[in-house]
């Protein structure tokens, strides 16, 4: 059945043909896989910008915690200090609700305190705080790509 006797040592020609063939096949497969993954990864996102203006500092009352619908964040004001807290639960991405003592996730029941620390429930990490700066036209500028410590705040 075999065209060549099975026990012949491979000739130099066979060796090069096999090696080159397998190399080419491996390379083609790898290149196609990389190209496919790159194709499926979007280069432009049509989502709300991760950096956004949140209005004037004076829009927020002292001691208030304000939920911004579109951005899914809380703007926290204590005296003249401004902070921005993510409303996305670190567990599975539900939107947390403000309660008297802190924050509460309705999906799996995680409780967070006012500093975003986990008091109970399955969330593995505290809620994230985002960098707040003041823009030139005197608006709060939140950058959701920059995470900061819970005690860092913008003093106006």
């Amino acid at each position: 059945m075999n065209p060549t006797p099975p026990n012949d040592p491979p000739s130099r020609r066979d060796f090069f043909e096999l090696t080159l063939g397998w190399l080419a096949a491996t390379f083609a497969t790898a290149a196609s896989t990389v190209a496919a993954v790159k194709f499926l990864t979007p280069n432009a996102l049509y989502e709300p910008s991760l950096r956004f203006k949140a209005g004037r500092p004076g829009d927020y009352a002292d001691g208030s915690v304000t939920f911004l619908d579109d951005e899914r964040v809380f703007i926290v004001r204590r005296g003249n200090a401004f902070q921005c807290l993510s409303a996305i639960c670190t567990h599975l991405g539900c939107t947390v609700n403000r309660t008297g003592q802190g924050y509460h996730c309705p999906c799996h029941g995680t409780m967070f305190n006012n500093e975003g620390q986990v008091l109970g429930g399955p969330a593995p990490r505290p809620l994230e705080w985002f960098l707040v700066t003041l823009s030139k036209d005197n608006r709060l500028l939140v950058d959701k790509t920059e995470r900061v410590a819970a005690d860092k705040c913008l003093v106006v």
Partner: protein, 428 residues
């Protein structure tokens, strides 16, 4: 020519020029024609000309695999019908669901059929998996078909999950938010996988379009191919598993050592094997009509049940998706509620490790459990240990699913279904 009018008309048509060109064999009259009908028809040739009497008994398989196949066909047909109206855009998706409910003629029934058949398919695929385990039907030479079956089980779940987002209601939006975040917990590739699935950072237009493409062409295409291989292997592996089956249905022959006193078909030479001599064909009956008619009857029964469900119960449709207010509690589809119950304890262990280990166990099973005792019989005493382990896993999965479905109220807190949920405190 006698018999009822449809039979006579059929025979009449079979003798015309056109009829002869369509049907290579008419309605079979003799045993020879019964075999020819099975072998020469495209729709029937997947099945053997003769079938073991035991395979026809309802208790052998309970018809679970066949029911799953029929549900897949119903889903394909109703799914294509839904595609004529559904628009995969966040602006119009929910509206097209409402159109199907209230405007399109029979749209409600078609959507209901699609939804109930999908639920039933998950159920029957799981039952089929249990049947194959409890009868030990995954043992040699059927190991590979068990793998294909495992892949089909996962594809069924994937099809259900991707279809779940498409109505773009609250249920859909939050189930997919939770589900893709679970994928994000996978080590190393997790965050990237989540980004690829959603086509972005949040569940939005890109995610809807991706899930739509996966749901209507990618996953059904792969599932269709795997179903074909699955059925083909059932034939090639010797039909249904039987208790008296020898280790090898075929004797190995070394190439170049053909016995001189026998003749072989080309396909037997190609496989280097020959049917075992002395195997008893006594218990076989002709597939036409015994097998074919039973299958047709079961198909009618499955359609009848799905139609019955679709006419009397409507598929749920909640309010339009709202990224700001998750429903309380936000629940995944019922077949993922056991998983969600685990995830409520720990997302990594419940969402990644436990399902990962279970899938790995399913994949490795036929290569680890290689003993041949008790194969082909329900709950064989020789397989008591394996059956017990499987039964425990099954019961745990069922209990978790029941807890997640019925015993979890607002805030995922314990809630007995026969009691009213406590009044919710108003949250900002």
């Amino acid at each position: 020519m006698n018999g009822p009018l449809p039979t006579r008309l059929w025979h009449l048509f079979g003798r015309t020029l056109v009829g002869r060109s369509v049907f290579r064999v008419g309605l079979p009259q003799s045993n020879l024609e019964r075999s020819q009908a099975m072998v020469s028809s495209f729709l029937l040739h997947l099945q053997p000309a003769k079938v073991n009497r035991r395979a026809l008994k309802p208790g052998t398989t309970l018809g679970l695999g066949l029911i799953s196949l029929y549900l897949f066909l119903i889903l394909a047909v109703t799914g294509v019908l839904l595609m004529f109206y559904y628009v995969p855009s966040t602006d119009r998706a929910y509206g097209s669901m409402k159109d199907l409910q209230f405007v399109v003629s029979a749209g409600l029934v078609v959507r209901n059929m699609h939804r109930w058949a999908a639920h039933l398919m998950v159920l029957f695929v799981v039952l089929h998996l249990c049947r194959v385990f409890f009868t030990g039907a995954y043992k040699r030479p059927r190991e590979f078909n068990w793998l294909i079956g495992t892949a089909l089980f996962l594809l069924t779940l994937g099809l259900s999950f991707t279809g779940y987002l498409l109505p773009w209601d609250q249920l859909a939006f939050w189930a997919i938010t939770v589900g893709t975040n679970i994928a994000g917990y996978a080590p190393v590739i997790g965050p990237r996988l989540k980004f690829l699935l959603l086509g972005g950072n949040v569940v939005g237009q890109e995610a809807l379009l991706r899930f739509y493409a996966l749901h209507v062409i990618v996953l059904p295409g792969i599932a269709g191919l795997f179903i074909a291989i699955h059925l083909w292997r059932v034939r090639k592996d010797g039909g249904l598993s039987r208790p008296d089956e020898p280790a090898d249905l075929v004797q190995q022959i070394e190439p170049g050592q053909m016995p001189a006193n026998k003749s072989y078909g080309l396909m037997e030479l190609a496989r280097g094997t020959t049917p075992q001599v002395g195997r008893n064909p006594e218990d076989d009956v002709f597939s036409w009509p015994h097998l074919v008619f039973r299958e047709a009857l079961l198909f009618l029964a499955v359609i009848a049940v799905v139609l019955f469900l679709a006419i009397f119960w409507n598929a749920p449709l909640e309010q339009v998706a709202n990224a700001i207010h998750p429903p309380n509690p936000a629940k995944a589809p019922w077949y993922f509620l056991g998983l969600q119950e685990l995830v409520s304890y720990s997302a990594f262990w419940g969402g990644v490790v436990v399902p990962g280990v279970l899938v790995l166990a399913l994949v490795l099973l036929p290569y680890l459990d290689r003993g041949r005792q008790g194969a082909g019989r329900w709950f064989a005493r020789e397989r008591a240990a394996a059956n017990a382990i499987f039964a425990v896993c099954l019961v745990v999965a069922i209990v978790l699913t029941v807890i997640g479905s019925l015993f979890r109220g607002p805030n995922w807190s314990w809630q007995e279904p026969w009691k009213e949920p406590p009044a919710m405190t108003e949250e900002q």
